[in-house]
Amino acid sequence: MDKKSKRLITLTVNGQEYELATYPNRTLLEVLREDLSLKGAKEACEDGVCGACTVLLDGKPVRSCLLLAVEAQGGEITTIEGLSGNEKVHPIQQAFLDHGAVQCGYCTSGMVLTAKALLDANPKPSEEEVLTAISGNFCRCTGYNKIVKAISSVKTDREGGH
């Protein structure tokens, strides 16, 4: 592709601002993984069905495999690498560990970020609300049971002052 067709975009990723020159046909997932070496978001279906590539754009979960990087121009992006800030792990990540909600781990980044967006919008979700929120994030290992328990436990912890 002609090098001249690159566009300059600004993305804030995990609190840090990046100015990037990228072709307009590249997805946000490609830019995050290849240009910024943030590889927590994964590609697994290329159709936007499985949710392994989920990142937060302005606090909302998006499929980074379907979103072009240029469309995210000016946006604030949180990837799994930035979720815990300076803490070792975020309470949601801790809940996943405590409840055995992680097996192979390939879907985990997307699943945790979807849970983050859910709990930010709705700190006390019902089981049905949890299931609906994560229904676009496939997990082949766990059958979802322990993931739901993990996410629901974060709600309980919050009530206790998290």
Partner: protein, 786 residues
């Protein structure tokens, strides 16, 4: 019972923090300087002769660094099974003929994906099309096109039979003649896939010292090394498989795959790293899927439900090459004979070549197909005898200590206890009876319960099926655990750490695991054949014991105490009756170095199942012992069926499992949950659809796997039949595979209990359930006369 500190506890995964933080490096994440993108040219035809390949145009394309075809290859065949009877039958790049759509013909390495794709389109292949066959029973007919000659030892006039398993005991004809009831049914299991989330992926980097470094999403790095080295003609020591995290496998990442060979060959040709990552479409169209299986089952029972004899014929569709086809027809026999006593049996299994994709193991490898057949039919028999499904299973279930036909022992077999406990917990008998009564009432929504069982070998005796583990103490008293085991997500590194922590009284956080690197870790069979916790676990146990023995010896001398009076806790050794007399591990190691000629305290452990037996049982005759441990379990599924739409939901599955002794109950539950979910998908809606050998639903949009809204609620009962004692060999059993089988059988029986619809072919699509309901209506509605 001895108090345990780490084993038997639901401790958090060792690799948890790195996974939840997105920092676990999978093969797809590996990036090396100068790395090229590799792509594979595949056959669009199910069966053809390759007349000519012209790569010249592609070679001239800017950015193309290497192209390989069969002429670059040593043309050494490989196969999942490579024995005298079943020699390897597949070239790692097609030489002169392709036998399935998607067969690998050439590989390209280029500076980016787009150039690689363009290069593929520039390779010209001239084919001479050959007649093809896709159905295994069609392929067996004398006039079918020949894909491979039938196996020389198969005497019948069938075509395309790649292998046969044949065994019998007792007198089955006599058993049938003495039976009160004989049933003959045919069950068909469909083509479904693993749907591991991480696609097939490999990075191969051949360096200038003549070494091939490989990162690959796999279930066993030592197996990959052996097969890559053999086909590439390299000494094993020149091939190094390095550890990566593995994004799920479920049977689908064992064996050598041709794209892995191609990536390696490309790298050897251009001396640059080459990465091949499958798209999801390519996984569906080019990777190996699970095994469809036809099971013809004839069973004779006495009036009281006792099985007197069974005659079973299985037919597998192995695809264009043998793959694991000759294994599944053997294993299906094993899953037939283990749970229930069968005094007289005649078994024949045929593995048949077709022009479909090659098949590979998939979680359960024959168990789901066989248990679906046997436990469906057993419910039909029970109904005819007016028995309940529990009663007939209790009547036939093996008891602890039963000797199996292959001379294995079902010692400590927990099946009967599992049956009793799972039915008690779920109120099965009452619910089953109630559903029978409510079947005929007018409600549109029907509920039902069903039961399924399975029994599974642990760490079967197939070469090498051994493991060595090294436990190395660091001079601060912390431990390095070195193992060839692969953690696919099942928690191998965690359970091995728990065992070492227990044996050495070292906290979990003081154990570092170094795993799955063929150069720096010890040989291990890998994470398949359901033996890791037992085989590698016992090796780890022995390694820890040896290291601990050395520490205790040093401590005994220092503390002037009898070694038997010493106890260890939290990296300290003290005298039991005088706890103030103690020495830290750190000091004991220093002392060992000083007193024992520099011995830094290293323990080595090995383990192999059944050390006195030959290498493996016969795939042809089933003769020869197989394993020392059989797990068993009983599962109850509760379903809801909308009789207007035919849609069935699996509401919950309760599992009573005898996995021996659970090292980590939370991980055990995770395995069961995953299998219940996978079984639900397989039995309700997951199906790989082929048209003339080409997959026509190659995406997660067209091949639905269960999402969270489909979640099946699970409950578990742990039937513990083995003990864990420090310093002693321990027995534990399989937990990672067989529950798919129990669940599918339970769902099939629950559907019948809810609606009266008996389906002998999976998956249970709504239209099939509706058709079943229509048939029942036809039978029960009296015909009116005009």
């Amino acid at each position: 019972m001895e108090k345990l500190s780490y084993v038997g506890k639901s401790v958090s995964r060792k690799d948890g923090p790195v996974k939840v933080s997105g920092r676990a490096e999978y093969t797809v994440d590996i990036s090396l300087p100068g790395m090229l993108c590799g792509k594979v040219l595949r056959s669009p035809h199910p069966h053809a002769r390759i007349v000519h390949i012209d790569t010249s145009k592609a070679e001239r394309l800017r950015g193309v660094k290497a192209i390989v075809t069969a002429k670059d290859s040593l043309q050494i065949k490989h196969g999942f099974v490579q024995t005298g009877r079943y020699p390897a039958d597949q070239y790692p790049i097609a030489v002169d003929r392709v036998r399935h759509v998607g067969e690998e013909i050439a590989g390209v390495a280029a500076t980016d994906e787009w150039i690689a794709d363009e290069a593929l389109s520039l390779i010209e292949v001239e084919y001479e099309l050959l007649p093809a066959v896709f159905d295994p029973e069609e392929a067996m007919k004398p006039d079918a096109p020949e894909i491979h000659p039938s196996h020389p030892k198969v005497m019948e006039s069938f075509k395309n039979v790649g292998g046969k398993t044949e065994t019998s005991w007792g007198d089955v004809e006599k058993a049938f003649s003495q039976s009160y009831l004989v049933r003959e049914d045919r069950f068909v299991s469909h083509l479904r896939t693993h749907a591991y989330m991480e696609p097939q992926a490999i990075v191969a980097s051949y360096d200038h010292s003549g070494k091939l470094n490989v990162w690959v999403s796999s279930m066993g790095t030592f197996l990959k090394r052996a097969k890559l080295a053999n086909t590439l003609g390299l000494p094993f020591g020149n091939v190094r498989i390095l550890k990566t995290y593995v994004g799920g496998a479920f049977g689908g990442k064992v064996d050598l795959f041709n794209h892995e060979y191609i990536a390696s060959l490309l790298s050897m040709k251009c001396r640059l790293p080459v990465k091949i990552v499958y798209s999801r479409e390519e996984v569906f169209k080019g990777a190996r899927h699970g095994q469809p299986l036809i099971v013809e089952l004839k069973t004779g029972v006495a009036r009281d439900g006792t099985i007197l004899g069974q005659q079973v014929r299985t037919i597998n569709n192995s695809g264009g090459y043998r793959g694991s086809g000759v294994v599944i027809i053997f294993l299906a026999w094993g899953f037939l004979m283990a749970p229930y006593k069968i005094p007289n049996l005649k078994y024949e299994g045929y593995s048949v070549y077709t022009n479909s994709l090659v098949r590979c193991p998939q979680r359960g490898h024959g168990a789901p197909q066989m248990r679906f057949a046997v436990d469906s039919q057993l419910d039909m028999i029970a109904e005819q005898l007016q028995m309940d499904p529990l009663e007939i299973r209790l009547k036939n279930g093996r008891r602890p200590g039963d000797i199996l036909p292959n001379k294995d022992s079902a010692k400590n077999f927990g099946l009967v206890q599992c049956l009793e406990e799972v039915t008690r917990r779920t109120g099965f008998v009452e619910k089953h009876r109630k559903a029978e009564e409510e079947k005929k009432n007018g409600s549109k929504i029907k509920r039902g319960v069903g039961i399924g069982v399975c029994s599974y070998f642990g760490g079967s005796l197939i070469y090498p099926n051994s493991s060595s583990v090294i436990v190395k103490l660091n001079d601060d008293g912390s431990v390095s655990l070195i193992t060839g085991a692969v953690d696919l997500g099942q928690g191998a590194e965690t359970v091995l750490s728990q065992i070492v922590a227990e044996e050495m009284s070292v906290p979990m956080e003081d154990i570092q695991v170094y795993a799955a690197d063929t150069e720096t870790t010890t040989m291990d069979i890998g994470s398949w054949i359901s033996g890791l916790t037992w085989v590698t676990g016992n090796a780890a146990k022995k390694a820890a014991e040896e290291a601990m023995g050395k520490l205790l010896q040093v401590a005994a001398e220092k503390l002037d105490a009898d070694i038997n009076d010493l106890e260890a806790k939290n990296k300290e050794i003290f005298v039991k009756h005088a706890p103030d007399m103690k020495i830290s591990y750190k000091d004991a190691i220093a002392l060992s170095i000083q007193k024992n000629k520099g011995d830094t305290v290293i323990g080595i452990g090995h383990f192999r199942t059944m050390k006195d037996e030959p290498n493996h049982p016969s795939l042809a005759t089933t003769k020869g012992r197989w394993t020392e441990n059989y797990s068993s379990y009983a599962q109850v599924a509760e379903v809801e069926v909308d009789t207007e739409t035919g849609v069935m939901k699996v509401l919950n599955v309760t599992t009573a499992h005898d996995c021996g002794f659970p090292i980590n109950p939370m991980l055990v539950e995770g395995q069961i949950d995953g299998q219940v979910s996978m079984a639900q998908g397989h039995v309700l809606y997951e199906e790989v659809l082929e048209d003339k050998g080409a997959v026509i639903n190659p995406s997660f949009l067209e091949y639905k796997i269960p999402c969270a809204l489909d979640m099946v609620k699970t409950d578990y009962i742990d039937v513990i039949t083995e003990e864990y004692k420090k310093g002693k060999h321990y027995d534990t059993k399989e937990v990672g595979e067989g529950y798919v089988a129990g669940t599918i059988a339970a769902v099939a029986n629950a559907l019948y209990n809810a609606t009266g619809v008996r389906l002998n072919q999976t998956p249970f699509y709504p239209h099939k359930i509706l058709e079943g309901l229509r048939q029942i209506e036809k039978k029960t509605t009296p015909k009116s006369r005009h």
